[in-house]
């Protein structure tokens, strides 16, 4: 059983990163690699689908903080979607909804990019 996994797909010029499992200090570097790779490929429009993510700690939250500026400086964004309530609560507790757009579904987040 994989403790944490990512899967990347593309739809309408939007890059979708699906997360699953447990995102903590041990697994956060895996997600950092995914974002570094997207930047290398100049893919700055990113939707992160949290549907299968069961858990996040501050090390996981830090990954989004580390990459948001680069995406926005390149006219892209990291939009977050489909969080389980326990995961959303941690983002909410720290005020992250002020900085990130959070959508209830992946499609809504993709739509937002298309309309921009």
């Amino acid at each position: 059983m994989s403790e944490f996994f990512t899967n990347i797909k593309q739809q309408n010029q939007v890059n979708i990163v699906e997360l699953g499992g447990y995102l903590d200090a041990h697994t956060a570097p895996q997600l950092e690699n995914v974002f570094s790779e997207l930047i290398k490929e100049k893919k700055f429009n990113v939707v992160v689908n949290f549907e299968q993510l069961s858990y996040i700690s501050s090390a996981g939250l830090g990954v989004f903080m580390a990459f948001i500026e680069t995406m926005r400086e390149n006219k892209g964004d990291i939009k977050l979607a489909a969080m389980k309530p326990n995961v959303f609560n941690i983002f909410d507790l720290l005020g992250f909804p002020l900085l990130y757009e959070i959508f209830s579904s992946e499609n809504e987040a993709i739509e937002k990019f298309i309309k921009q």
Partner: protein
Amino acid sequence: METIKQNTFDISVKSSTEELSAIRNFIRESITPAGVADDAVDKIILAVDEASTNIVKHSYHYAKDKEIRVHLALEPDSCTVTILDYGDSFDPNEIPKPDMKQYLEEKRVGGLGLYLMRTLMDEVQYTSYEGKYNKLILIKKFN
């Protein structure tokens, strides 16, 4: 027949982030059978994860062969988790509570562990016994 309920639990793990999942499983398996609400279980697990992550990073500076000991004591109205490490100590009073608005505006990374622990738990006590060990006590009260 009288049933004896276990209310203290112990685990000792190596100082590696690989062990975080074992620590989380230990907390969940220790307190879930007592009927503790999911919300409280989740908060305790995250607080202990943050504490253990801080020990790996700041106390042992990523040396993987050191020890982290976790002791959990369950009472009807509270859960107390005591975490011991034998590495470098820190003064929690020197770590200011982050201004989250400013933190987000400046897009800082890291430094949220202690803040989360203090937010998720009812009490956070840290004591360093110079040259011996550091003791962090996290207390969650059940409403």
